[in-house]
């Protein structure tokens, strides 16, 4: 089965029977779901429930133990797939920002697209300035990461991922390492992205963001998808006892 037989073009990622084990610990247990273009999906759940591992499997930063992940119809778990080309389409934002410490902001943005011949140095610079202006950080283009606050770093990390013109953005707890007063500025950028129609999968502890911005929310617990529903429904009418007790603790 080389391509996804289901030719639903609006489906960008399809996960089938995804399982991930670390040594003998079962972190993801037979997960199947799919993500459509322009969809904003939040993934919530208790720590250690497999949220981050699930997200990191989607661009193969973790290698699934078994199962299939179709991106644009191609099973990226198959041998011989050029994963680097697929990763270009999937921007990722980390909890710890991971800006390149040896490069200034502009170099952080332009290094990969220029190296991978997505655009020329001038094009990359122009695009970089446009995007920096949008997140209000144009004046930081010559700064080094150590000169920036956490919120600034994360906004630039988002811009860095956008530079590659990704089809989908993966966010791995993007606000968890931020001081409380900086969470808002990052969420604002993400909210704007969502409004523009970017496809986003967001692992988060920000329940308000999940409820208000994402159209759909997955509740992941003990390696299972316990509930998968439109966000308002999931938060207003939780069904599984686990989700009910989780929401009681965090809300």
């Amino acid at each position: 089965m080389a391509a996804n037989p289901d030719s639903n073009i609006s489906e960008i990622i399809r996960v089938e029977h995804l399982t991930k084990k670390f040594e003998n610990l079962l972190v993801l247990d037979d997960i199947s779901t799919s993500f459509r273009t322009h969809e904003v999906v939040s993934v919530i759940g208790p720590s250690g429930g497999g949220k981050s591992t699930f997200l990191r499997c989607l661009n193969l930063m973790e290698t699934p133990t078994s199962g299939a992940i179709y991106v644009d119809g191609v099973d990226i778990c198959k041998k011989g797939v050029d994963i680097n080309r697929h990763r270009e389409k999937m921007g990722m934002v980390f909890q710890q920002f991971n800006l390149f410490n040896n490069m200034n902001v502009m170099k952080n943005l332009t290094a990969a697209p220029v190296k991978l011949k997505k655009m020329t140095a001038e094009e990359a610079e122009t695009k970089g300035i446009t995007l920096l202006r949008r997140v209000g950080l144009e004046d930081k283009r010559n700064s080094y990461p150590y000169e920036l606050s956490g919120g600034q770093k994360q906004r630039i990390a988002i811009v860095r991922a956008l530079m590659m013109n990704p089809e989908v953005m993966l966010f791995d707890e993007p606000t968890s390492a931020l001081d409380p007063e900086m969470i808002g500025e990052v969420l604002d950028v993400m909210r704007e992205l969502a409004e523009e129609g970017m496809t986003m999968i967001v692992v988060t502890h920000e329940m308000r963001f999940a409820r208000e911005v994402s159209s759909r929310t997955l509740f992941l617990s003990d390696g299972h998808i316990e509930e998968d529903k439109p966000s308002h429904e999931l938060f207003d009418h939780p069904e599984s006892p686990r989700l009910i007790s989780f929401l009681q603790k965090v809300l």
Binding site: N59, M61, N84, R85, R87, E88, M90, G91, M92, F94, Q96, N98, L99, F100, N101, N102, M103, A111, A112, K115, L116, Y144, A157, R160, A161, M164
Partner: protein, 232 residues
């Protein structure tokens, strides 16, 4: 006073001797560091390789060369290997070439093991998130290494490499036991001629100290410059 006068007398009479010794010490040290660094970089890559046998071999090499005395390695190469037919050829236009080569090879193989660990720890000290971010943008492991990880690792590696050079200068004194005319060998020669044991050895110690102190100051200067470069 007498002591210092004797040293001055020795230096004025046997200065050329010492100078030749210093020259040979520096040549051997420099060659050992250059080859040791090149081999050490490859060894570090092997040590971090995904291919298990390669990793095991590199680990075994490093542990072995760090766990046995340089003196044993040197005499093994110079006296031991020819017993099984492995020796360095003589070259007509360079006197004592095979002796010299044995010294350089032993020092390089030894230094390689230490340099490999310096490079490996320098690379592994870089936050793994840096490589992850590079890979997530679609860059290959090699591109991430050269664009992101190595430029950061070099700041950890260079100062330690400078210290390795200083260690090599000091350690190189053992090549005198296989008859290479380095500083220590020349010192022994002058000592045997003049019977001024204390003064000859003090002279050698002072010269070694001047060499290593100069280099350690150079390393410190380079380190400061790099720290500065990080801010600019």
């Amino acid at each position: 006073m007498q002591f210092i006068q004797t040293i001055i007398k020795i230096l004025s009479k046997y200065g050329n001797f010492y100078a030749e010794g210093v020259r040979n010490t520096l040549i051997i040290s420099l060659m050992a560091v250059v080859f040791g660094t090149l081999l050490g970089a490859l060894m570090a890559l092997a040590r971090m390789s995904k291919i298990k046998p390669l990793r095991w071999l590199a680990t075994a090499y490093i542990e072995f060369f760090r766990g046995t005395p340089l003196m044993v390695q040197l005499t093994f190469i110079f006296y031991g290997l020819p017993m099984v037919g492995i020796s360095f050829p003589e070259v007509s236009f360079i006197p004592d070439f095979s002796r010299f080569m044995a010294g350089v090879v032993a020092m390089s193989l030894n230094s390689c093991a230490y340099v490999a660990e310096v490079i490996r720890s320098g690379i592994q000290a870089v936050d793994p998130g840096q490589m992850e971010a590079a890979r997530c943008l679609g860059l290959s492991g090699g591109q991430g290494m050269t664009m992101v990880v190595l430029p950061q690792a070099i700041r950890n590696i260079l100062p330690a490499l400078g210290n390795e050079f200083i260690t090599v200068i000091k350690e190189s004194s053992v090549v005198s036991v296989i008859g290479i005319a380095d500083l220590m060998y020349r010192t022994n020669g002058v000592k045997a001629k003049t019977y001024n044991v204390l003064e000859c050895l003090a002279t050698a110690a002072i010269i070694y100290f001047i060499l290593t102190f100069t280099f350690s100051k150079l390393v410190a200067w380079a380190e400061r410059r790099m720290a500065h470069g990080r801010k600019s």
